[in-house]
């Protein structure tokens, strides 16, 4: 196992290299095909060649390879790797440090993800277990249908309705009831407040979690049903254990592998939702930054952020894989 982990860490490093390279290629091709992002800088105005060249240089896009479609631009890639190795993730197009941007944006996103994950987990485990336990009864149907109903609403619809229909009255009510600076008033603030990140990210996080929870609820239900069919559940019941104990230790515990997989995937999946959530709730986070960077062809920022995301993902995947072996002793890794 120890060797497995070492191997996985090495592989993780290789993945990172691969990811950065693929990204580099993607962004390079995008630049080669779309033309220099420097152009967007001038908006509706048409720059002279000289102006363009100057801006390109400032953006670090002056390498001639960016003009040759198909050229993988290895030179800049190697340079960038060298810089990364020294902890220098470069600057965005406007000269702001990528690490600085990430340092501001990442904590907010992580807070959002934490709430999303907790929401998922609580809803999924709670409702999924309930649905599995009362399989075929009205509770089961109710939970499944409601969750799917919520899930079918795109996240932006949920957020929109919340912001425009509920947030303002709730916020007014909370202010008048609990005072202007009360926690409750902050919860219902229509948008994020950097001074009170946890309080203001709570509702958006819950909504985002809600939107993704149906799949998770169904997943939990399905894998628990699988466990319920197991004979060991019968054994546990024959010991006279309370049903709650049986469910917890023999059903929930035995169906944890897909659940852990799901939690592992939350991170990456939530990012897509985060782009929208962060945009609509005005959270300065990785999703929004990445979105803007992608749209602006901000190569350094895109590669920098995705590299950081990749590190997190690789670590999460590794933890998940190790967790498998811990959760199901029958799983062996060569």
């Amino acid at each position: 196992m120890g060797r497995y982990i070492i191997r996985r860490v090495l592989l993780g490093a290789a993945t990172l290299l691969l990811v950065t390279f693929v990204l580099h290629l993607l962004t390079t091709f995008a630049i080669q095909l779309n033309g220099s992002p420097a152009l967007a800088f001038f908006g509706d105005r048409i720059p002279t060649d000289a102006q363009l060249a100057a801006v390109e240089e400032r953006y670090g896009l002056d390498d001639p390879c960016y003009d040759q479609t198909g050229n993988p631009c290895l030179g800049p890639y190697v340079e960038r790797l060298g810089a990364y190795a020294q902890g220098d993730f470069g600057t965005n197009l406007r000269g702001r440090e990528v690490t600085d941007i990430v340092a501001t944006a990442a904590p907010n996103t992580l807070k959002l993800f934490a709430i999303v994950t907790v929401t998922w987990f609580v809803l999924g485990m709670g409702l999924g277990s309930a649905a599995a336990r009362w399989r075929g009864r009205s509770a089961d149907h109710g939970i499944r249908m409601t969750s799917v109903l919520i899930d079918a609403f795109p996240i932006f619809v949920l957020l929109l309705v919340y912001r425009y229909v509920f947030a303002v009255p709730l916020s007014d009510w909370a202010r008048s009831t609990f005072g202007d600076d009360s926690m409750v008033a902050l919860w219902f603030r229509p948008s994020f407040d950097a001074d009170h990140p946890w309080a203001t990210v709570l509702v958006p996080g819950i909504l985002l979690g809600l939107a993704g929870s149906a799949a998770f609820i169904r997943l939990v239900r399905a894998s628990q049903l699988e466990s319920y069919a197991g004979e060991h559940v019968r054994t546990a019941r024959s010991r006279g254990l309370a049903e709650r104990h049986v469910v917890l230790h023999h059903v929930v515990r035995n169906s944890s592998v897909p659940v852990v997989t799901a939690v592992g995937l939350t991170f990456t999946e939530a990012l897509a939702g985060a782009v929208i959530t962060e945009g609509m709730m005005n959270i300065y986070g990785m999703g929004g930054v990445l979105w803007e960077a992608v749209r602006g062809n901000d190569v350094a920022l895109v590669v920098g952020i995705v590299t950081i995301l990749a590190i997190v993902t690789v670590v999460v995947m590794l933890v998940v894989d190790i967790a498998y072996a811990a959760l199901d002793p029958r799983i062996r890794y060569a």
Binding site: E231, A236, S238, G240, L241, H249, D328, P329
Partner: protein, 364 residues
């Protein structure tokens, strides 16, 4: 049908066993007229049909019978653990007079493990693959008796030692798939004994064990039984084991009891043709009836005597006496009339029209 419920004496949780003494002969568990049906694609199927037996403290009742005759299903019914497609259509299961089947499920469940425990037939499937053996051994102690972690660990080692699993202290941290078939079965037994139950239903507890360990385990069960006056229901196909440990025997055929008797009487003179055929079918260690010589090439050994025909499947139980198509004594009446389980001698019952003849003939 009478249902006796001790009106609200103990809500849910049964009293600790110390409160109720076990003296030899006290009836602990009484199954009467139990019938279980399954819903299947091909209609309902009656797997157990009017089974009755009684377990007394300090005594061992052996349930023997054809494979598929409903031994396991009836035990599951006693434990209240039938699958969703099955349900009890008639009968009572009384534990010290309380009808378990008439209780709410949670109260019934509370009796399980503590008062009536069960060892399942399929040891690997019955153990949870993701928990260590040690955990499963003491799970009920920890969850129900609030035993501490350290204490339960000690107890787990004790229990595993009890069933002669080598190196118990180390192996409690292993998982079921790392155990051999026999060891798993012993783990099952140990975990059923953990709560010191009044009645233990052991469904083929030693099939995967070699005879030396089987002997150890059976002796162990006997010791525990003697010491604690536990009632034991032993489901087994091994008539040798039955002969060794049982006090009473109930022979089942096609979901119902066909003979009930004390063990010595049964072996001496079976009162039902099925029992007789069963006893005849047992291969014996000493007897090589074929008399073949050392040169194995030539003659084959003789065949084992068997009951001809296929056991009836619960869907198509023959009319009249269910055994009649395979019975060497069958007459016309057997195809039409189902014989009831009736007392044919002191302490013996048989469901055969010609039990007297059978007994008499053997005696004579």
């Amino acid at each position: 049908m009478e249902i006796e419920i001790q009106a609200g004496t103990e809500a849910g949780v049964p009293a600790p066993e110390t409160a109720q003494e076990r003296t030899v002969g006290t009836t602990l568990l009484e199954v009467s007229d139990l019938a279980v049906e399954f819903r299947t694609d091909d209609g309902t199927v009656r797997a157990v049909d009017g089974l009755s037996y009684r377990v007394e403290a300090g005594r061992t009742l052996a349930l023997v019978g054809e494979s598929g005759c409903g031994k396991s299903v009836s035990s599951l019914a006693v434990m209240g653990l039938l699958p969703a497609t099955a349900h009890v259509v008639a009968g009572q299961v009384r534990y010290r007079g309380d009808d378990l089947l008439a209780m709410p499920r949670t109260r019934h469940r509370a009796h399980c493990g503590r008062h009536v425990a069960m060892v399942f037939q399929d040891a690997l499937a019955a153990l949870n693959p993701v928990h260590t053996v040690g955990y499963q051994l003491t799970e009920s102690l920890r969850a129900r008796a609030g035993m501490s972690r350290r204490e339960s660990r000690r107890r787990a080692v004790e229990l595993l030692d009890l069933v002669k699993v080598p190196n118990a202290a180390q192996r409690i941290d292993e998982y079921p798939h790392q155990f051999s078939g026999g060891m798993r079965q012993r783990v099952m037994i140990a975990s059923a004994l953990a709560m010191d139950p009044d009645v233990l239903i052991a469904d083929e507890p030693t099939t995967a064990l070699d005879v030396t360990v089987q002997a150890q385990v059976m002796r162990l069960l006997a010791e525990i039984q003697a010491e604690r006056q536990m009632g034991l229901v032993l489901i087994t196909h091994d008539l040798g084991v039955v002969a060794g440990v049982a006090d009473d025997v109930t022979v089942m055929y096609a979901g119902r009891a066909v003979e009930r008797s004390a063990v010595r009487d049964l072996y001496a003179a079976p009162a039902h043709p099925y029992t007789r055929s069963l006893l005849r079918s047992v291969p014996r260690l000493g007897t090589r009836d074929d008399g073949h010589d050392d040169a194995h090439d030539g003659a084959r050994r003789g065949r084992l005597p068997v009951v001809p025909g296929r056991p009836p499947s619960p869907g198509h139980v023959p009319s009249g006496c269910p055994f009649h198509p395979r019975c060497d004594m069958a007459r016309d009446v057997c195809a039409t009339d189902r014989p009831p389980l009736a007392e044919v001698a002191a302490g013996r019952s048989s469901a055969c029209h010609f039990a007297d003849e059978l007994l008499g003939g053997d005696r004579g």
